[in-house]
Symmetry: C2
């Protein structure tokens, strides 16, 4: 899209990956290779400059590539992996026992410099743990926050941290604001991202010490800062980057998912209640489908783990091929813009100015 | 409903307010007396044992009572108040300058023992501040958490704290669990409330120290405890009392409100998009109306401030008469069950056992 226009001269000088290679764990997620491999082919079709390493069992991957044209096939390179991280594996066990897994090898390819980013639809806890263990964070970051798009009026908002960290200091919230701005601009194409810090709305108690301190730090930083926002502002269309600690962010995200499911279930039950309402359902179906598509979080598939020394994108576990291709596109854009390098430089600058 | 059956002998011996008088601030909220006074009359019609003090400007209240039958009218007593707390008044200013307001006088009536509870649709910050200033909390409680019903599968969940406190210690979270159980049972009629503690879902990081400590405390208490739950469990119908700190609770609540508004706006836009979709909208309207009614938070109007030395119920600012009557019914039930006394006894017992 506007990626070319947005790229800054400094990045170009740094010799950025103009023809990025990404390592794709095609064996994980609820649907595994049968959606991940077609998703990878879709991503290749959409981006002629892209090279993909499909990491997994060649005997599973090969047949799924058979229908692809020679031009696509030439950019899909199989990297064998004999194991898969189960969806219920504990993170520590995954680090210790899954060295031959598609997830681990995809991340290893980034570490080795063979790939400039990786994507997996696997077990979030394992992916987070292995990514931190193998790639490490940039110097100032303790644990990489997770950032993802949410539906909002007239577009989306991008929220972090969605649960990688369980608490956040004021300095970490400042880092989230800085990193979130970079990712919103370079990965999601928001020209001048407006940043808000989540707080509670009681007039007499404008939040605890940590958000108070973070408020001052972010206001003094270079980001375009709107100040405190409340939970309902996430969806207002008036903020691009929503900053919060991983505990609050995760609870809010899951609450929204739960509410969306309840609304869907209630609508289904009410539409099935009588002959009249079933007739209405048939007529309303295309409209409700469009509403569902607009709000479906999978449409915005691809959560970034920001602050690692490499691009790691988490796809939703139940992503279909379209959604998985979208996650690969996110990783491609992040790799082209060298998000890990941009983040490291921005945090180093901020640290120098702060000290 | 089953309030009579649920009342415990101890409460009856304590000489509870079997014919409660409630002080109603009928001048506040977005709609003021023209919805609050009819709402009060509705509540009187629904509860033959109820006496209400309608606090406000007699010249405004009198005409609104003119249509009421003599039997209802005999149970609606006007208590004059010459002032109203504005919706944007800062809490401290409200304490200092609004001693003649309907909100303050309604709370003063509770303090004086003339009323066994009060209801206001006014400024939340001012109501919280004045209620704490005038009534004080029971000994163990620092600041009364706010508890309210949320829609859930097959009924509701009751969540606290929704924003009165900006942080919560492990002991406070335990108190929320104890108070929430009492209110869910005695006010909302849940026979044996199941309590869950909100936490984040990453497998390797089961929350910060505070929720870890609270988890142990609640597990050792007498409440029916399910352990940690995640944000989406709020709506699952499998938990009755959702315990969290006021920061997380407020952000989650407001996020859900924002999402619900976004969904409503998106549906409206999609149904208006074409002639076909407008036709579908006409047919679907009764169904969507039922969905809206099921999920409308105003249906569950009446948030309890729990842990004060008196019953204080906050009505939604935009409550109509039906919703306002519902908030009065909540206060009536809380007063009949002497929630402040039950809470004080439960916390004192817990403190003794804990020490």
């Amino acid at each position: 899209m506007s990626a070319g226009a947005e790229r800054r001269p400094a990045d170009q000088k740094a010799g950025l990956n103009r023809v990025p290679t990404l390592a794709i764990d095609v064996m994980s997620g609820d649907l595994g290779a049968r959606e991940c491999v077609p998703g990878a082919l879709l991503a290749l079709a959409q981006a002629p400059d892209l090279q993909l390493e499909l990491v997994g069992d060649p005997s599973v991957i090969e047949p799924l590539l058979s229908g692809a044209g020679a031009a696509l096939r030439a950019r899909a390179h199989i990297v064998p992996a004999s194991d898969v991280v189960p969806m219920d594996e504990l993170p520590r066990a995954a680090i210790r026992h899954r060295k031959a897994s598609s997830m681990r090898i995809a991340i290893d390819r980034v570490k080795a410099g063979a790939a400039s980013g990786c994507v997996s639809a696997g077990n979030t806890g394992a992916l987070t743990a292995i990514a931190h263990f193998v790639l490490k964070t940039v110097p100032e970051v303790e644990r990489a926050p997770i950032m993802s798009a949410l539906p909002a009026a007239h577009g989306h908002a991008y929220m972090l941290d969605l649960g990688a960290n369980i608490t956040a200091t004021a300095v970490q919230l400042l880092q989230f604001a800085l990193m979130g701005s970079i990712v919103a601009r370079d990965v999601y194409g928001v020209a001048e991202p407006r940043v808000g810090l989540l707080n509670i709305g009681e007039e007499d108690i404008k939040g605890h010490e940590t958000v108070q301190a973070a408020n001052a730090l972010i206001a003094a930083s270079g980001v375009r800062y709107l100040g405190f926002i409340e939970g309902d502002d996430i969806f207002s269309g008036e903020v691009d980057v929503v900053v919060t600690d991983g505990f609050t962010g995760n609870v809010a995200l899951k609450s929204m998912e739960g509410l969306a499911r309840l609304i869907t279930a209630t609508m289904r039950a009410e539409f099935m209640r009588s002959i009249g309402s079933r007739a209405a359902a048939i007529l309303a179906r295309p409209v409700l489908k469009r509403v569902g598509a607009t709000l479906d979080p999978r449409r915005y598939n691809g959560a970034c783990m920001v602050g690692l020394r490499g691009v790691v994108v988490k796809s939703h576990g139940s992503a279909d091929r379209m959604a998985f291709a979208r996650a690969i596109e996110i990783a491609r854009t992040a790799a082209i813009h060298d998000i890990p390098g941009c983040v490291a430089r921005a945090l180093a600058t901020e640290t120098r100015q702060g000290s």
